[in-house]
Symmetry: C2
Subunit: 397 residues, 2 copies
C-alpha cells in the first residue's frame, strides 16, 4: 500500500528555523578528516586524555549493581548524588551552592539552548563578547535576539563596555576562562567589576566554563557564580575534563530560573540519560578528577607551548596572537588586508586547516582573524603546519 | 570575594517560557513513589524487560574495541551503521528508506521538540488527536501554536475530521498504534485514507510510533511512513523495546526537512551520545530484537488481560474502557458526572493512583476520563487496585 503520485509538500519552515544555518566549523571538519591534513580546526579534546578503562569499569559496576534503575526513566533535574557532588564542588566558604540550583543537561550546548528558550524573545537585546563562542551564537540565534557585541581586550571582556551598552539587555553571555575562540582570560580584577555591573543593571550574567579547570599553572580562577549566586547562570561540562561523547553537562541557576529551565528541559527531552549520570558519578565520586585533570593540563600546556614556539619562529612580526593561560585555543590576528577565509583555501590546498575568525562575531566580523587548536596534533605536525602557514602568510604581505 | 547586597534580579521569562508548565503526570508520580501505592499512573516500561546483561556486554565490547571513538564528539545526524540498520528495517519492497532520511535523537521527546521548533510559528494551526499524547502537547505548546483537535473513535483518528478541519494546518500529529493515552489503534482501512487526505491537503503528517512493535498478536501494522515517505515524518524510539534510560530515538523525514532538523539539533545539543548509539547498534545488529520484542509482547498482553478481567469483574456497567491490541495503556470513560480528578484524590487516600484524562486534551477536556497503565504492577496488585477503584466509582453513582 503506497500512495501513487503523492502531492509534493512545500515545506514551510518556521521563522526561527529560517535563521538556522549549519556550523561553519562542522563543514570545515568534514574537509579535514583526511589523515594527511594537519588540522588546527577542531574543537575536540584529545582522545589521549579519555579515561577509557575507568569508564568501562564504571559502566560495568553501575549496570551490575543497579542496572534496572540506571536503564529506566529518571528525574528531569538529574541524578541526585551527582548534583550533590557538584554542589559541594562549586561551593566556597562564602557562597553555598545547593543541589536544588543544579540541573543536569545533555552537554552544555543544551544549557545554551534552554537558557535561550526561556530568556529570549524575538528582538530581545542580548550581550555577547567580541568575538564569542560560535555554538552559543547558533543556539541563541534560533530565538531571534538582537545581538550586541561588547568589547574585549587582552584582559578579557571590558566591564565598562557592558555598563555603556547593557541597558535593557536580557542577558550577558561570557566565557571568562581560556575563551573559545580567543584563549583569553578575564582578569581577576575585572571579574568582580563585571559581576557588580550586571547586578546593578539587573542583567543575568551567564558564565560558560567548559575550560576553567584546564589552567596551565596554579589553581582555577574564582568563579563569577560564587561572587553572586543570585545573579549568575553557570554552565559546566564534563566534555573537556572527562569525555565529550557521553554528552553530559550541568547548569547552575538561581531557583526561580532553574525550575523554569526544568520545565523547558522536560518538554525538550524529558531528562538526560540516567545511566550516563550514574557512571560519571561512579568515576568521579572518590576524587578521580583531582588526579586526572592535572595530566590534561600538563599535556595541553606542552602542546600550546610547541605551537607558540613555532609561531615565534615562523610567523612574520606583523602577525599577532594570544598567549593562553589554559584551554585549547590560540587566536591569531593577521595584518588587516589578509582575509583568513582566502588564506584557509590556500592552506587546505597544502593540507593545513584552521577556522577563520569571522563566524565568531555576532556583529562586524574581523576577517583577518583565525582560531588555532593545538590539542589533537602531534608536536612535529604542529611545527610543520605552523611553518607552512607562516609561508602562506608571508606570501600575502 | 562575594558581592554584598546584590540587587535581586526580576526574572523576565520569554513569552514561550510563560506557556511552560510542569507535567501533571510527573507531579502525580512524585506522590505515588511510596511502595504501598498501587500505581496505574506510570508511563514507564517494565524494568523486567530490560536486557541488562546484554547492555553490559555491549558497553564492554564497544569501549574495549573503540573506546576513544565512542567517547569523542560525533556527527549530528548520528552513528552511520545504526542509521543504515534502521533504514533497512524501515524499508519495504515498495518504499525504500535511505539512511540520509534518518537522524538520531536523544529520545523521541526530542524529535517532538525539534519538529515543533522547525515547523511551528506563533499562532500556527496544528492538528492533534482527541485526546493526544501529553508530552507532545507540552513540546509543541512551547512554540505557541493554535491547537485544533480532530475526532477519534474506537478505530482511531477520523480522516474525515482532518479533511473538514485541516485547511492551512502546519502539521498533523498522530500516534496510530496503541495510542498514549487511549490504547486505541488506527484501523488499517483508515491509514491509507489519512495519508491520502494529508497529502492532498499538503499537511505534513507526523507518525509517532513508540509502541508499534508491542502488538499482542500478529505482526506490527503497516506504517504511514511507507505509504508516503515524502509526506510523513516518522518518530521511533528504543525506550519501549530496549530501555528508556539511555535516551535514544530517531526521526525519519523527507530530505529537505531532515537537513533543517539537523541544524536545529546541532544548535540544541550538538549530537546524541556516540557511545549510546554504538552500544545499541552492538546490541541489535545481529537480530536481538527479533527474539526480545516477543517476550515484551507476551508479558504486556498478559498484564493487560489481567486488568481487563478485573475491570469486567469490578467496574459497574456504566463505565466504558478501551481494549488495546498492544502497548501499555487502557483508557476509561466514567459516567459524565464523575470528575476523575476528584476520584484520584479519593483513590490516593486508598493508595491507588492513575492519571486523570483532562491534561491529554488540547481543547475541551473530558473530565470523566482517565488513563490506566498495567505494565509495572503485579497481577495480584492489579486486581486489588481495580477492585478498590471499582468501589470508589460505585460510591459515586
Amino acid at each position: 500500500m503506497k500512495l501513487e503520485n503523492p502531492h509534493p509538500i512545500e515545506w514551510k519552515f518556521s521563522q526561527r528555523a529560517q535563521q538556522l544555518q549549519g556550523s561553519v566549523i562542522r563543514e570545515i571538519l568534514k574537509v579535514t578528516m583526511r589523515p594527511e591534513v594537519i588540522s588546527f580546526a577542531g574543537g575536540l579534546p584529545s582522545p589521549e586524555t579519555f579515561p577509557v578503562e575507568r569508564m568501562k569499569a564504571a559502566f560495568d559496576a553501575v549496570l551490575s549493581r543497579t542496572g534496572k534503575v540506571a536503564l529506566q526513566y529518571g528525574p528531569t533535574d538529574g541524578y541526585a548524588p551527582l548534583r550533590e557532588f557538584l554542589a559541594n564542588s562549586l561551593s566556597t566558604p562564602s557562597s553555598t551552592i545547593s543541589p536544588e540550583q543544579i540541573m543536569m543537561v545533555s552537554g552544555s550546548q543544551q544549557a545554551l539552548d534552554l537558557v535561550g528558550k526561556v530568556l529570549i524573545d524575538e528582538g530581545s537585546k542580548i550581550l555577547v563578547e567580541t568575538p564569542s563562542y560560535l555554538g552559543a551564537l547558533q543556539a541563541f540565534s534560533v530565538y531571534q535576539p538582537q545581538f550586541e557585541s561588547v568589547a574585549m581586550d587582552d584582559h578579557g571582556l571590558v566591564p565598562a563596555s557592558v555598563a555603556a551598552q547593557g541597558a535593557g539587555a536580557r542577558l550577558l553571555y561570557a566565557l571568562p576562562n581560556f575563551q573559545n575562540p580567543t584563549g583569553r582570560t578575564l582578569s581577576v580584577e575585572r571579574r568582580f567589576e563585571l559581576v557588580e555591573t550586571c547586578s546593578r543593571m539587573g542583567i543575568p550574567l551567564i558564565e560558560d566554563n567548559p575550560y576553567g579547570d584546564l589552567c596551565y599553572s596554579g589553581e582555577p580562577l574564582p568563579k563569577l557564580l560564587n561572587m553572586n549566586p543570585d545573579g549568575v547562570i553557570y554552565m559546566g561540562s564534563f566534555s573537556k575534563i572527562l569525555t565529550p561523547g557521553i554528552r553530559l553537562g550541568y547548569i547552575v541557576a538561581p531557583k526561580p530560573l532553574v525550575r523554569k529551565l526544568e520545565q523547558a528541559k522536560q518538554a525538550a527531552d524529558l531528562h538526560t540519560a540516567t545511566l550516563t549520570q550514574m557512571v560519571v558519578y561512579e568515576v568521579i565520586k572518590d576524587g578521580f578528577l583531582g588526579e586526572h585533570i592535572p595530566t590534561i593540563r600538563h599535556f595541553y600546556a606542552a602542546q600550546c607551548q610547541v605551537m607558540l614556539n613555532a609561531m615565534s619562529t615562523y610567523f612574520p612580526d606583523s602577525v599577532k596572537w594570544t598567549t593562553p593561560l589554559g584551554g585549547m585555543f590560540i587566536w591569531v590576528t593577521l595584518p588587516d588586508h589578509i582575509d583568513s577565509k582566502e588564506l584557509l583555501e590556500a592552506a587546505i590546498a597544502q593540507n593545513i586547516a584552521f577556522v577563520p575568525g569571522a563566524p565568531f562575531y555576532a556583529n562586524n566580523p574581523a576577517k583577518n582573524t583565525l582560531r588555532l587548536s593545538f590539542v589533537t596534533v602531534s608536536p612535529e605536525r604542529i611545527s610543520r603546519g605552523i611553518e607552512i602557514l607562516g609561508q602562506l602568510i608571508k606570501a600575502r604581505l
